[in-house]
Subunit: 279 residues, 2 copies
């Protein structure tokens, strides 16, 4: 596997369609090529019913072998039986719950190492809701929805980092989260903010991603921000952030993470008015 | 009054503080210089209690003369008693309800003409919630909150146009309205989108506005957009819009409407990386 390239990431904003066209789950299933999918329900405090729900959701999509990996306590991450579930798996799917459970339970453990190895060897890693947030390098853990960002009101923590240089937020339009994502990228504009709606996903392959599903994906790029009060204002102050670049992407659109530029029909020409000096 | 310049507009995102510091109502009161304020409750189907509520809210802020103007039917807009309320008034304050009631009841009537004359002669025109939306040239009447914009899902109508070249949205972060404002400006990027949070206002004087209150103001500028599906995609499709410029403004920030550029500490220098070819 020395010449393998990392596999795709499929990062879902929550509530992916499980009964209709199932476009997103279909995209996951197709990339398994018949191999085993490990449903990692680690984010949940109450994982009962998740396996059955996803068995039904994947029915007919040719996922022959769907198994559940749950970790209740960090000590279990050395458990041989649990590790064997990942042996030879074609993909891992992180379901929803609390992203802090994923990072705190499996961060820097043999389970995380195996998952990373699966990804590096070309396997799929998917995640929905909390499972999407956990893909981030620095992940959003808490922050107000449906209000503008307050300087002091954001909790971030180290994520799994499968998607470097990005911070993912989910249930994005549905929970009015643009404010907190703007707050997050204001802290360090190196990081791109990627807000994903429900029943919507990004399919990350190498330095690019494409958009799948019924909603939109918002890319918040603070690289060219000219003024911000993030480091100065009082903790209860509303965020001020001038000259943010925002891309709203729908199914069919793509994004070049290295160039920090959207992809789409005729994008090469369309980009012309925005020469990137540093790219 | 030939040499008069138009008075300020104070455009409020709803739920302005009425019991604490009352920063926004204070800003309205100060600009009346002791003159009469006409509370226009026209947006409401049930205006009972509004006058009492605002009498309490303005108590101690030196608004000597607060009177209510209600128009139940369009035929009443020629009523001499109602018109006399506006005679010599120093300002008009549009309260909340349905912006379509304001436009449809008083658009192109003697009442609207008097209000416009008050503004042109230097008087204050303020509006909160629906009263804010009605200031727009083309106003938002309906569109989903807390979801991404669908191409076909937006109702717009001609507003009072006191603030040209802008479309105002209110209760902005609280109701997750970035999607619909992006949808609105996608229709014609000439129009700036201005989303105002609750207990937050813009004070428009000439070509500039400044921000007051506890929340944020979002300026959505689609002038440099490079790709959009607004005219092409199916009505149920999610909006795609690449290269939007977004400014998040908090109290103390300002905005130059002619230059489409934020104002703030050292803005002249800070703008340097973004030369405007056409300005």
């Amino acid at each position: 596997m020395n010449d393998a390239t990392p596999g795709p990431l499929i990062i879902i904003g929550g509530h992916e369609d499980k009964t209709g066209d199932r476009l997103i789950l279909r995209a996951v299933a197709e990339r398994l090529r018949g191999g085993r999918l490990v449903l990692a329900t680690i984010a949940s405090h109450q994982p009962d019913g998740y396996l059955e729900s996803y068995r039904d959701a994947f029915a007919g999509l040719e996922v022959s072998d769907l198994v559940e990996l749950y970790v209740d306590e960090r000590g279990e991450t050395h458990d041989k039986e649990k590790l064997s579930l990942l042996e030879g798996a074609a993909g891992v799917f992180f379901s929803g719950g609390d992203q802090l459970r994923i990072a705190s339970q499996i961060g820097d453990t043999p389970i995380e190492q195996r998952i990373r190895a699966i990804h590096l060897a070309g396997g799929v890693v998917a995640g929905t809701s909390a499972g999407a947030s956990a893909m981030s390098e620095t992940m959003l853990v808490g922050g107000a929805s449906s209000e503008s960002h307050r300087i002091g009101d954001l909790r971030m923590a180290p994520g799994l980092g499968l998607m470097p240089n990005a911070i993912i937020d989910q249930h994005f339009a549905e929970r009015g989260r643009i404010g907190r994502l703007l707050g997050a990228v204001a802290h360090n504009p190196r990081i791109l903010g990627v807000g994903i709606d429900e029943d919507t996903a990004i399919l990350v392959e190498g330095d690019r991603f494409s958009v799948l599903g019924s909603g939109a994906v918002y890319v918040v790029d603070a690289e060219d921000v000219t003024q911000s009060n993030i480091a100065e204002a009082k903790s209860a102050s509303a965020l001020s952030l001038h000259d943010v670049r925002l891309h709203v992407l729908a199914a069919g659109d793509g994004f070049d993470l290295a160039q920090r530029a959207p992809l789409g029909a005729n994008r090469a020409e369309a980009r012309a008015p925005f020469p990137k000096v540093d790219a």
